[in-house]
């Protein structure tokens, strides 16, 4: 029997852009939903304009950023400044199970595509608005960019090297965290609809989803009125715990000794069994107290070997350890490649490139990237004809009127 995708037959009208919204709908596409991104050449998705471009040659269909996060989706172009295009969007929503948007507050309402209107078109529609601050509250109209969510959420104030200023985390972490939580909410709403026939509106604030993953810091404040200090890669309880210099240029290995049994195996693995007898290091509290000395011991060992060699030795002894992987390390990682994690499907403009695939596997359902990211407007005519109910001549008229750019 052919495998069926979990969300086969579920259609998603995707009015989002940049990263958080498209990352939400990417999860739905992974599960087999028909995701239709509504785009416009007059307002290109930021990710189509950002590098990396294949062979450094810019072009709206050549960005690895866009092509990564829009795999398995369709693209139509509508100039939503024109009433004919808004009508087409309205028809698309009426034919969709889920509508996803991340415009500024009020934009969908002003276009006549707010939840109250869509619900009249389709009683059981599920609509989710992903925004920086949420749809209610005194700050609802504030503007939010991905990188600003990390400091806003509180993450930056507790992330950083000891004694240094607050820091970023290297990615616009609020975007994927918001997008993933949005996918959870949409799936829960779909299950509810399957049982009751009832749709609903979901208000997601990226600020709040970012705080949902910071309970230790927030509750340190609500319980004791203190916040954790920035402490690099260290842990309040475990030592050694961190990222240590390895042999090679700017190469590092992460490792953690979780308990006393780990410590004894670790000491033996690095050829220093006498350390296991050192009373300073015998308990977790002792190792924390003497962490600087301990880190010197660890670094003296790691710096003599490549991170791969050190990983093999430590994991062989049952110690949590791994190379600080770069993008190249990941792309060439024998384990990820053996698992078939990467997706290499043809794309009309960039050819076959390695993209990151689905981070989960399903034993019975089809769950995979079905096709590469769409070129801009690839599906406009087909979607208008087959889903929105326009005739061929209607589509030609809309093209001529400039509504489909």
């Amino acid at each position: 029997m052919a495998r069926r995708a979990p969300l086969a037959g579920i259609r998603v009208a995707d009015f989002t852009w940049v990263w958080a919204g498209p990352f939400c709908t990417l999860q739905l596409a992974h599960l087999g939903a028909e995701v239709i991104r509504v785009e416009s050449a007059n307002r290109l998705c930021v990710t189509r304009l950002l590098p990396p471009f294949a062979e450094f040659e810019p072009g709206p269909n050549r960005s690895g950023y866009f092509n990564q996060y829009n795999q398995g989706k369709k693209s139509i172009t509508l100039d939503l400044k024109r009433p004919e295009a808004v009508e087409a969007a309205r028809r698309l929503c009426a034919a969709s199970d889920v509508v996803v948007e991340n415009f500024a507050a009020g934009v969908m309402d002003r276009m006549g595509l707010g939840y109250d209107v869509l619900r009249e078109l389709r009683r059981d529609v599920i609509m989710i608005a992903l925004s920086g601050y949420g749809a209610t509250g005194p700050d609802r109209d504030k503007v939010s960019y991905g990188p600003a969510q990390v400091p806003l959420s509180g993450m930056s104030s507790v992330t950083g090297y000891r004694g240094f200023p607050p820091m970023h985390v290297g990615i616009s972490y609020g975007d994927p965290t918001g997008g993933l939580h949005g996918a959870v909410a949409v799936l829960a709403a779909l299950l509810h609809r399957a049982r009751t026939g009832e749709g609903q509106y979901i208000d997601l604030s990226q600020w709040e989803t970012s705080m949902a993953v910071l309970p230790e810091a927030i509750m340190s404040w609500t319980m004791n009125g203190v916040a954790p200090e920035r402490d690099g890669n260290r842990d309040p309880q475990m030592a050694p715990h961190g990222v240590f210099r390895a042999a090679g240029e700017d190469r590092w290995i992460a490792l953690a000794v979780e308990d006393d049994a780990d410590w004894r195996r670790f000491a033996a693995a690095i050829g220093r069994p006498e350390l296991a007898e050192d009373p300073r290091f015998a308990s977790a509290a002792g190792r924390k107290r003497h962490e600087d000395a301990l880190d010197d011991v660890v670094s003296a060992w790691t710096v003599e070997r490549s991170p791969e060699e050190a990983t093999a030795v430590l994991q062989g002894a049952g110690i949590a350890a791994f190379t600080a992987a770069t993008n190249q390390d990941l792309a060439e990682d024998p384990h990820l490649n053996a698992r078939g994690f990467f997706v290499e499907l043809p794309h009309p403009e960039v050819g076959v490139r390695k993209h990151v695939g689905v981070p989960w596997r399903m034993s019975a359902s089809a769950c995979r990237v079905t096709h590469s990211a769409p070129v801009l407007g690839a599906d406009t005519d087909a979607v208008l004809r087959d889903i929105c109910g326009y005739s061929e001549s209607d589509v030609s008229r809309l093209h001529a009127a400039g509504a489909l750019t």
């Binding site: 950002l50 400091p151 993933l180 604030s205 230790e216 954790p228 890669n233 990222v243 992460a254 490139r353």
Partner: protein, 397 residues
């Protein structure tokens, strides 16, 4: 109004954040979750804190209380056959079983999907593992600092002027939160498939892959351009930076030229801002050393709140570097009712992060506090016809 998932019965074997967070997301939407902990020690997050007054106590750990509210808790030693038998009975009446038992220990803990599904075909089982269930690294161990590096996130974060400092992880157990929310998605996907097929399936989540999936635009620099992403490169566009004000830190965020022009006006249009060195965002990136000194000089005299409001009035997306105190006091978050409080029989009143999304028809709810260790053992085991007293006496529960 009942929650969206009030019809679901879930079993969780979580030791740490990942499985517990996956089932928390479901429990908060109404699912009936039974959490299984090892007798004696309990879930390791009971020992992580934060603790009131910093005094460790297994019933007062903030992380545990947050992750496990809305759940029933029982103790079972899955290394013992009687424990595995009880687990089998719980799985036989469940819609979903989520666990983060390491792959090398699954069989010994009774986590054989084929066998569990033979007894109860609608069961969905979700396994979370640091490197997945198969492949050459499947037996490797990891905790957050290791996963965050193995997934490629850490090498993106550092201080470009301090190459001697290592790749830096984010605060907290973010690897496991990411794995947990991915596990919730995979689990709900399988449950939705089951509406049509009537059959469950085994879902597998790799923490390493969950992280490799969120590298923003950096991963593709290798396949698209043959470039290795590094934490040490200067940012091409500026200012996107942290600045110290007289009463805290702010994040300056000028991606577009119009945003920079607005910021210059807020600063009173200083003469230096007209210099060729700073004429566009790329020039400001190339000359950031000079720009940073000038900006810092001005920002040091400002207050965070005033500068944030002034920028936002002009639609420039600055943000405060919120402290935990700022968050808890935020009028916006208070107006939205974000923080939730619940009374716990041992820890007392506990305030924690609340609903991450508002669902109009099926609300997020906080219905009961996290269980004390083994609080519901007798009650839950009685439901499946197991004598909890006998298991307790044998040290299995």
């Amino acid at each position: 109004m009942p929650g969206a998932l009030a019809h679901l019965r879930v079993v969780e074997i979580g030791d740490g954040v990942s499985a517990a967070y996956a089932t928390k997301l479901l429990a908060d939407l109404g699912a009936d979750v039974v959490k299984i902990e090892p007798p004696g020690r309990g879930d390791r997050t009971r020992h992580r804190g934060p603790f009131p007054d910093g005094v460790p106590h297994p019933e007062k750990s903030g992380l545990f209380l947050y992750l496990n509210a809305n759940k029933h808790g029982i103790t079972l030693d899955l290394a013992r056959p009687e424990g595995r038998d009880a687990l089998g009975r719980l799985a036989a009446r469940a819609d979903l079983l989520v666990h983060d038992v390491h792959p090398t220990a699954m069989a010994a803990s009774g986590l054989d999907y084929e066998r569990l599904a033979a007894a109860h075909p609608p069961l969905v089982m979700t396994s979370i593992a640091p490197f997945g269930l198969d492949g050459p690294h499947a037996t490797y161990r990891a905790i957050d600092v290791v996963s965050w590096n193995a997934g490629g996130v850490a090498t993106l974060n550092g201080e470009p002027r301090h190459p001697e400092l290592p790749p830096l992880k984010a605060f907290g157990d973010q690897s496991s939160f990411q794995a947990g929310v991915n596990a919730a998605i995979g689990s709900l996907g399988a449950l939705f498939a089951r509406v049509t097929t009537g059959r469950g399936e085994h879902v597998e989540v790799s923490t390493q892959e969950c992280l490799a999936a969120i590298l923003e635009l950096t991963f593709e620099f290798w396949p698209y351009c043959g470039l290795v992403a590094s934490r040490l490169g200067a940012k091409p566009i500026q200012p996107l930076c942290f600045m110290e004000c007289r009463d805290g830190w702010i994040y300056i965020c000028c991606v577009e030229e119009h945003q920079w022009r607005q910021f210059v006006e807020i600063m009173g249009s200083p003469e230096w801002a007209q210099m060729e060195l700073f004429e566009n965002r790329l020039a400001r990136g190339a000359n950031f050393d000079a720009l940073q000194v000038l900006l810092q000089e001005w920002c040091r005299e400002q207050s965070v709140a005033d500068l944030y409001e002034a920028a936002q009035r002009r639609r420039v997306p600055f943000a405060p570097v919120s402290t935990m105190g700022d968050l808890v006091a935020s009028p916006h978050l208070r107006a939205r009712g974000f923080f939730a409080t619940i009374d716990h029989p041992v820890a007392g009143s506990v305030e924690m992060p609340g609903a991450p999304y508002r669902m109009s028809a099926t609300p997020w709810t906080l219905r009961m506090p996290a269980p004390t260790l083994g609080q519901h053992t007798a009650e839950v085991l009685a439901e499946i016809g197991v004598d909890a007293g006998a298991l307790r006496r044998a040290g299995v529960a």
